[in-house]
Symmetry: C2
Subunit: 232 residues, 2 copies
């Protein structure tokens, strides 16, 4: 009867903190929602009306300036949490990059539920602390790294995070080829570069034999060590 029973991220998402009774109560206030690429779930500056868990797909978090420049400030994957609990405003937009499925809660409902379930809040705290560490680390890339270093670091990050579930463990064949959930422009928006610079750096890595680009969105890492050297 419960969505949660068949939820593929049941044991990775913050829901893992709950026993089956609690889960049933959470299930009662949530609902599933599907998103298509380009579709947004939350908009920067809006009131924080809902939060969600990512069940499937990849989504971007982004902010922009008044004159249209955009910066992607985060990328979320299955089992990640999105939205701003315990806060009035959503600080950034959330938009699907691929087809995606999310488990949505009204923020008010979620806040109330979370306050009654410290173990859930604890999981959320751990996740938020990790995300903060990751985000701050990314600031080094934006503030201090060259275009080629950014691209190399980005590809290595992607190769780690886009692993198919079931293909975990140390870097193996599976990690060497993957499909980016980003267009070239979106890669530029992640790295704080222009689309042309991104394109040139990709072709340079290809010409240097460090990667191969079998199709627009596919990347195959040929020389991971070299890529790590170039990541600075």
């Amino acid at each position: 009867m419960s969505y949660c029973d068949t939820c593929v991220v049941r044991n990775q998402a913050i829901c893992a903190a709950l026993d089956s009774n609690e889960l049933q109560a959470l299930n009662a206030i949530g609902r599933r929602r599907k998103l298509e690429p380009g579709q947004s779930l939350l908009w920067e500056g809006e009131d924080s009306v809902l939060v969600a868990n990512v069940i499937d797909g990849v989504l971007k978090l982004s902010t922009g300036t008044a004159d249209g420049r955009e910066q992607i400030v985060g990328v979320v994957y299955p089992s990640d949490f999105i939205g701003r609990p315990f806060g009035k405003q959503t600080a950034h937009s959330v938009t699907a990059l691929t087809d995606a499925t999310v488990c949505v809660f009204s923020r008010a409902d979620f806040d109330a539920f979370a306050r009654e379930h410290p173990s859930l809040e604890h999981k959320l705290l751990q996740r938020t602390l990790s995300e903060l560490d990751r985000t701050r680390h990314w600031m080094l890339l934006l503030g201090r790294k060259s275009a080629s270093e950014r691209i190399a670091a980005f590809l290595l990050d992607m190769s780690e995070r886009l692993v198919q579930p079931g293909c975990e463990g140390p870097p193996s064949e599976a990690h060497q080829e993957f499909d980016l959930p980003f267009s070239r422009q979106q890669v530029a928006d992640v790295l704080g570069l222009t689309i042309e610079t991104v394109s040139r750096q990709f072709t340079k890595l290809k010409n240097d034999g460090v990667i191969d680009l079998p199709s627009r969105r596919t990347v195959r890492i040929l020389d991971r060590e070299e890529l790590e050297d170039r990541a600075g």
Copy 2:
């Protein structure tokens, strides 16, 4: 007998979540420590052995590359929390910019205490969520803004955060002049620029009559509206 009784940040820090009995228990596992400018409390990559509350002073959080480039990824003020609870590693160094006083806990002690006090974890979660929003917002500056926009946004941010306790409220005379806790190099390390570019932008703002620079570290905002326009 308890440090907390006389603690000036008692009601702003996460400790505000605790009643006096709980506070006494927390007090028992903490101790005060003074830091001089330049002195570090935590080092990037080290095991996470301690966490702390800032009682007085300003500290920077920073990371760097192997070849010595540095990026300041956060700045903390009185009542802010520092360190990485519930985690093995410290992701960034923490260094005093001014004389500072912190209330230090061993991470293990703090973790155990926090897990038993959900209201404390809740406060910490709220703080961490806000910090994550703030950090992501800063990524827009690093990824997409010009040097002059960065400097303007930085000065506005400083003018809001360096207000003396007791001088709150809407922008007033008190907000217009303040002393930066940063050297020019440190401003550069916050903004992802070089010291020369920072210096040139400061003098440009001064020549344009937007700010005045009565001394090396002192900034007086003469035309806040103009500064806001330039912040992009």
